[in-house]
Symmetry: C2
Subunit: 598 residues, 2 copies
């Protein structure tokens, strides 16, 4: 580290090599033992920790200064490095073989009593941590997370730079579009009553860059989505966004493999298995009941409909007769008592199942199950065979519409198979997503933005519910890291897609006219992707949520407990923007205030 004028070396950089040298340190008091005469303090800075010995005889500071030192005081120390006395070497600390004997100590800034302990062992309420994020950052967990985030972004940039991508900044005050119901708006001062929107992604601008001949674009882009907060979302978030011209899906996936490999190498110091496994959406759903399968474990869904093709068991027969399916997972040796097995049924019902059939393979090769008596011996044998059932294995079976079966078994698979933490990393590309999501009533809704290329425009017109798009996701350990697609570059196909999506040409013109015009000037075929950096780093750091790797995150209600945003602003500010608070909101405020005064 470049040390600047006030220190000569980082505290954590000191080693036995430095014994005998005179150093100037600056940092914080992380620990302090006052033995009456000699005081030992641990000095922490961004490079690590070193032990400092303050002996009033060597360090001519006043007794008051020395014994007044408190945790997290910011101090500057001059001293000389010496080996620690035998028996006091700390092998867990990189600087643990030495200590610094202070000749002077200067308090640069005192510290108030802390709102919480800064050691990593203390469990602190998250809202308190966020309110004092600047103290939270002094803890090694957050300090390491911030470093990891910086390293990850640097690794990504290195890949993009090496491959000749141009970093281009797209605007963040853009036009709002009517389907941007979740756009965050910014009132304009110069054009009263008009608004900019903050971008949900740089999608159309990066496509314009392709039209503009940039050919290779990337950006670490701040994006905004005014969603209801879930555990893993923030209203502002950061993506590695990239796009290439004269590109197809394989070009994108090749870049993603390099990005994933480089980031993991830098953060985990480990290689990843290349090429990254690819599976289609259809395969992923059939085998794992999820479009973001966790491939760290098998426990695949097994379609056992054929086993029960002519079963007497009415529950199965009925479902199969209606075109549904019977599927199972082999959850392994769960060793559950009857109450535990019943809990599985409850869990499946909570997930939307009408019921769940459990079967335990017995030592004699038979099956223990409430429904065993309804099954023929050959069915049982075929079932055990299909599920590779070993004595002790618990089979969990759902019979329902295939989509429902997959969703539920996909979730039960995670319940029973998913490892804690993220020691192992299993990347996957999921490709060939459908063009439309189909809800339970058969209604279609576009699964992607309307600039996504369909695999076949004719198929999209004639069989929309089964049509495939040229889109793909990157998945890691069961989480979607990002998604991308081949884009439409032909304005005629773009017009047809709008039509199939029930967007009239008038409406399309009104919303995207400027973009449709751009498509008419020699648009190259192009494709791209966006990776959510927050989630990627949180998985690599084994953190349970993305707030842990965002320097100053918002809470789940979009608030910042540190600065108090969002907040009320003065009427005069709004006046200049040509807007005002709605009367009903003002009334609600007044009402709440009155209630609080009662």
């Amino acid at each position: 580290m470049a040390t600047g004028l006030m220190k000569t070396i980082g505290a954590g950089e000191l080693r036995s090599d430095h014994v005998g040298s005179v150093v100037t340190l600056a940092g914080w008091i992380a620990r302090r033992r006052d033995h009456g005469g000699v005081i030992f303090v641990d000095i922490r800075d961004s490079s690590g920790i070193v032990q400092v010995v303050l002996n009033p005889e060597d360090a001519p500071a006043s007794e008051e200064t020395l014994h007044g030192l408190r945790l997290e005081y910011c101090v500057q120390i001059e001293g000389s490095v010496r080996p620690r006395p035998e028996g006091t070497v700390n092998p867990d600390l990189p600087s643990g073989a030495i200590e610094v004997v202070a000749s002077t100590i200067t308090v640069l800034s005192p510290a108030d009593a802390l709102p919480f302990q800064l050691d990593d062992r203390t469990d602190v309420d998250e809202s308190l941590r966020l309110q004092y994020r600047y103290l939270d950052m002094r803890r090694s967990r957050m300090a390491e997370n911030l470093k990891a985030r910086s390293q990850a972004i640097r690794a990504m940039r290195r890949v993009m730079d090496d491959q000749g991508f141009l970093e281009v900044e797209t605007p963040t005050l853009i036009a709002s579009t009517p389907e941007g119901a979740r756009d965050m708006l910014v009132p304009s001062r110069l054009r009263e009553g008009n608004f900019y929107a903050l971008p949900q992604s740089p999608q159309l601008f990066k496509q314009l860059l392709m039209i503009g001949g940039v050919e290779r674009y990337y950006q670490v882009a701040k994006c905004y989505r005014d969603e209801d907060f879930r555990a893993d979302r923030q209203i502002e978030f950061t993506q590695l966004d990239f796009e290439g011209s004269f590109w197809g899906q394989d070009d994108v996936l090749a870049v993603l493999e390099e990005v994933a490999a480089r980031v993991v190498a830098d953060l985990r110091d480990a290689p990843i298995e290349l090429p990254i496994q690819r599976l289609t959406y259809a395969d992923a759903m059939a085998r794992f009941g999820s479009d973001k399968p966790d491939l760290r474990f098998d426990m695949e869904l097994i379609d056992i409909s054929a086993v029960f093709a002519s079963t007497e068991f009415k529950a199965f027969a009925g479902v199969l007769g209606e075109g549904g399916s019977v599927q199972a997972i082999n959850a392994g040796n769960l060793a559950l008592a009857r109450s535990g097995l019943d809990a599985q049924v409850a869990r499946a019902q909570e997930l939307g199942a009408k019921g769940l059939v459990w079967m335990v393979v017995e030592d004699d090769g038979g099956l223990r199950s409430p429904v065993a008596k309804f099954l023929s011996d050959s069915e049982k044998a075929a079932l055990i065979d299909a599920c590779d059932g070993q004595p002790g294995d618990t089979l969990l079976i759902i019979a329902d519409r295939t989509k429902t079966v997959r969703n539920i078994l996909g979730q039960l698979r995670l319940d029973h198979g998913q490892p804690e933490g993220h020691e192992e990393l299993a990347f996957a590309f999921v490709t060939d997503f459908p063009v439309f999501d189909v809800d339970d009533d058969g209604n279609l809704s576009p699964a992607h933005h309307p600039f996504t290329a369909p695999a076949d425009i004719d198929e999209m017109v004639t069989s929309p519910e089964t049509a495939i798009s040229r889109s793909y996701d990157l998945v890691l350990n069961g989480s979607e890291l990002g998604s991308g697609s081949v884009r439409i570059h032909d304005p005629i196909i773009q017009a047809k897609v709008f039509e199939v999506m029930n967007i009239s040409s008038e409406v399309a013109e009104e919303r995207f006219g400027w973009f449709l015009e751009a498509l008419r000037y020699g648009t190259p075929p192009h494709a791209g992707f966006a990776i959510g950096i927050d989630r990627f780093v949180s998985i690599l750091r084994g953190e349970p949520n993305i707030r842990e790797i965002i320097p100053f995150p918002k809470t789940q209600t979009g608030a910042d407990p540190l600065t108090g945003s969002p907040s009320k602003v003065e009427e005069v500010q709004l006046q200049e923007l040509g807007i005002q608070i709605r009367p009903e909101v003002l009334e609600a405020w007044a009402l709440r205030e009155a209630e609080q005064q009662d």
Copy 2:
């Protein structure tokens, strides 16, 4: 360049070495000569240009395709590389020794007739260029500017990364502060009637990072300032923002020298003179009449008050008697006729001068000037001596309050001395800025944000009008590239500064309470800087305004002619945010609409 699946090499990468090889190109038709039979086209992609020969006999495309090719069609071509026939080699083109003989040509996308010519010779109205920015980007000027911007940012990051700075993203949805009259606001959906603000800079968050122990922070930060637009401002702009702990001014300037050197090396392939010249604000004002002096030329201000200490010339004597000064610049041999000299007087008046005295040094060493007759021979001689006047030189003299004199002569100095363009680069650090700006009536207003450290807090209290702050600017060729300061790290000094700035402790607490609290937890001494990337790159590229190096800029009224932002949004969107357009704005809209229908 990584080429992807649809091309094997960039058009501009082809050289004589490639003769005989078969290549696949993809790009745009930049030029086209149809000689009836054989057609020559120039293919342009992001790597450059190559000439392609389309002979209907070699390329089995239909006559219709070949002769239907138009400018800016996006095409893919397979062909073989051959030397150009003798006499047709183009030495101005890197690929000018060869050409590609096409065997197939595929039109990937046709192009409509262009709204303007894409060659760089055609002068196009800026609003048209912005409306079709994606076409403008295909011109080499914009394409090169985008590359330069990407290179500059990469060079900056390399310096920061090499020096162990951590890249940290600070939030962009932050708390609005009451003096943030120019804050851009973002209404919150979850807390109706409350607002976030977009950051004018990451100032307080980067200070929090220092408190958090990060020690070395940087960020290429998007900032927002809702200013009235001037030629060189945008509502969103980009800065290299950095900060260091245990740092003083010299640490910051050392980093800036490396940044400047690296960026210039990468964009200009030339070294800069190091160390960068430093001068105090007081020096800069006295010598150059500007706090952002253009040091590419001398023409310094000369204080000739002493020459006229006992002059009979009433205009000078009066000013000196009132404590003002008489100062000159030697504008060199302007060879102006009387009308030209009168124009100088008019220009000075336009700049706020009561008058201007011009004097031309004559061949015999005398002075030609309307006021010559009022001056004694010894005054004339001393004046010529002080100004190093050579026969033919024009001296421009202002007598007024010193501040006024400097402002006007500083501007006249630029009028007469400043070079066109930016071939030469003259960096300077200007340091020791005053704490307060003093207006003509003696009123004080803070010259910097209230977190800037004063050189001496006691001086700030007792002599605020002359007190110096620990702030500094980086200047290039007469433009301010950025500014920074040592920050206050002591909450007691911070409180005193608020007091001198007439911010009561109640108000300070209300506005910045959370920050003042943070200062109380062992805040390290720290300092930092922010460089405006847009301006830096525009100077290095010799561009007259920053819009030329911003991919998608706004116009001077904050509008985007391409996408139409800012724009009206639907009432339902506003409703969800708890805001509405003010009735008077709606009325004004209705009125305007009615007028337009008349």
